[in-house]
Symmetry: C2
Subunit: 315 residues, 2 copies
C-alpha cells in the first residue's frame, strides 16, 4: 500500500479536469469555486459496502460509478446541472492500490458522464469501505422541488421502472450470466443520473423527486411536501419489453417491483400540462387526498399498496 | 429505533436555523443556496468511530462536535467564514434514537459555534459509525491557500501546540480524571475551528494550513505547495504553561508532541511582516530549501525531525 501522499497524487491524476467554474481543485484545505450569480443546489450521499453494494454483485469500479450517480441524481431531481463534486472515501486497511484505482476510475467515469469535475475530497481508514459524494449543482432555469404538485397535475416518470430491482434479485439468485436478466443487471450496476432531461423538466414540471427508494415511497415524499395525494394506474407503469417474463422467471411480481423495488434513479415528476413523450410516461394523477397514494389495477380497483409493499419486503 | 422518517424529523428539528443565504434546507433532494457574488471554498471530512474517535474517550456529542469542527477548520485555513454544511451519518443498526440525538446535538452545537447552519445530509445504515461533514464557506476578503509562502516570510501558529495530542495520550493511559491533564483532555475532546481569526489572516498571511496531522507534516504540505522550505525553532513552539510537566508525567517529549502530535486544529500560517501577538506566535522562518523542513534546538543544532517523528509514532 502506498503512502497517503502517493495515493492522493494518483487520485489527483485520475480526477483532475479543467473547469471554468473551479479556481482551485484537489490539494489544498478546501477546493475553491469561482463566484456565480446563480442559486446552487447541494447534496451528499453515502454508499456503504455490504449495505448499498456488494463486491459479489459488481466491480469496485461499478460500485463507485453507481455511488456517484446516486448523488448526481439528486441534482437532476432539482432541475439542475452539476457544477462540481467532492468525494470522501473510507478504506479498510486491506484496500490495495489497485482497488483504490478501480474505485477512482469509476468515480472519474461517472463524473465525466455528469460533466461534474471532482475537485476535492477526503481519504480515511475505516473498517468499512464507504464512498460519500457531495455534489453542487446550479439551476439556470428554475429550482424544481418536491413541493409544487397541485391537484389535477399528471404524474410522469422518466425511463422504465423495476428493472434495477429485478437485476438485483437476479444477482441474489445467482443468475448473473442468464441473458434474460442481462439488461436488468446492467440497470442495477450502472444507473445514470437523468441530468439529460433535468433542465427541461425545470421548465415543465411542477414538482420532482428521484426514484431511489421505490415509486410509492418516493411519490409519498413528494405528496407530503406538496400537501396533495396521488392515484397511480398500475397498467401505465413503464417497463422493459421483456420485464414481465423475466420477473415471472424469478417468481417476482412485476407490479411490486415497479411500485416499490427502488434503485431506478429515474425521475418522478408532476406537470399541469402534458409533456413530450420522450421526457416521460404518464402514470397517474395528483389528487386532493393529502398524503395518500393509491394504486388502481387494470379494472380500476385499488391495490393495497402498503401490504403489497410489506409482502415484497419479506419475499 | 424510530423509522427513518421520524429520525429525519428529529434531526430537522434540532438542526434547522434561519439563514439569509439558504433558500431551502433539510427535506428535499438537495438543499438550495441563494446566489452569491463571491468565490466559495468547499471541503469534506470524515470521522470514523474506532479510527478518529472512541466512545471510551469522549461522548458521542463530543465526537460529533469534534467531527464538525475538523471540517470547519478547513474553511478557516482558507481565510473564510462558513456559509452552510451538510452532514452525512452512517449508523450501526444498534445505534439508538438517544445516541442519534447525542450526535445531532453535538453537530448542532458546533454548527452554532461556527455560524454554519446544517441544511441537509444523509442517513445510512453501516457496520461502522461515521460522520461526514461537507462545509461551504466564503472568502469575503481573499482566498488564502497553502501556496503563497515566500523565502523570508515568518512562520506563525495560532494557539498552543501538542495539548490535544497529550490529552489523547492521557486518555489512553487511563488518566481521565487526573487534574494535571484536564486542560489537554478538553483540548482533544473539544477543538474549535479558528474561524475567529480567519478573515484577518486572509489579509495578513501569505499562506496557511490547519494543523490536523501535526506541525511538521502540515508545514511540509505548505512548503511543497509554496515551493519553499522552513526552519522552526523548537524553543519558540507555544505550549500551555503546565505542558512540559504534564508531558513528563506521561513519559512523553513535549517537543515531539508539539512537532508531530496532531489534532491541534490551530492554524499554521506564514506572513511577510510581523502580525499582532493575539493572532499567533512566531515559530520560524521560510527558507529557499524547497520541501525541506528543519527544526533547530535551543543551541541552534538541527533536530532530526524525521526520526523524531518515527520514534514518536512507535511510542
Amino acid at each position: 500500500m502506498s503512502s497517503e501522499f502517493a495515493r492522493i497524487a494518483m487520485i489527483e491524476q485520475l480526477l483532475t479536469r479543467s473547469s471554468e467554474e473551479v479556481r482551485l481543485g484537489i490539494g489544498d484545505d478546501c477546493a475553491v469555486l469561482n463566484a456565480s450569480g446563480q442559486a446552487r443546489v447541494w447534496t451528499i450521499d453515502a454508499a456503504v459496502e455490504g449495505v448499498h453494494f456488494s463486491r459479489a454483485h459488481m466491480s469496485l469500479e461499478q460500485a463507485a460509478h453507481r455511488a456517484f450517480m446516486a448523488a448526481a441524481s439528486d441534482v437532476a431531481a432539482m432541475g439542475g446541472r452539476c457544477v462540481a463534486a467532492l468525494s470522501a472515501l473510507t478504506l479498510p486497511v486491506a484496500c490495495s492500490d489497485a482497488e483504490l484505482k478501480q474505485l477512482v476510475t469509476g468515480i472519474a467515469r461517472a463524473a465525466d458522464a455528469c460533466a461534474c469535475p471532482v475537485i476535492g475530497g477526503n481519504l480515511a481508514r475505516a473498517p468499512t469501505l464507504t464512498l460519500s459524494t457531495s455534489v453542487l449543482g446550479e439551476c439556470p432555469r428554475r429550482v424544481l422541488t418536491r413541493a409544487g404538485a397541485r391537484e389535477g397535475d399528471a404524474i410522469y416518470v422518466t425511463g422504465t421502472l423495476g428493472g434495477a430491482a429485478l437485476g438485483l434479485r437476479a444477482l441474489l439468485a445467482g443468475r448473473t450470466d442468464d441473458p434474460r436478466f442481462a439488461s436488468m443487471i446492467a440497470m442495477f450496476r450502472a444507473p445514470r443520473a437523468r441530468l439529460d432531461v433535468a433542465l427541461t423538466l425545470a421548465e415543465l414540471a411542477s414538482a420532482a423527486i428521484d426514484l431511489s427508494d421505490g415509486l410509492v415511497q418516493d411519490l409519498t415524499h413528494l405528496c407530503r411536501a406538496s400537501g396533495v395525494g396521488a392515484e397511480l394506474e398500475a397498467t401505465l407503469l413503464p417497463q422493459l419489453p421483456d420485464f414481465a417474463a423475466a420477473a415471472a422467471a424469478l417468481g417476482c411480481s412485476p407490479h411490486a417491483l415497479a411500485l416499490s423495488g427502488g434503485e431506478d434513479y429515474e425521475l418522478l415528476f408532476t406537470a399541469p400540462a402534458s409533456v413530450p413523450r420522450e421526457l416521460g410516461v404518464r402514470i397517474g394523477t395528483i389528487t386532493g387526498a393529502r398524503g395518500r397514494v393509491m394504486v388502481r389495477d387494470a379494472s380500476g380497483q385499488p391495490l393495497d399498496v402498503a401490504s403489497g409493499f410489506d409482502h415484497f419486503a419479506e419475499s
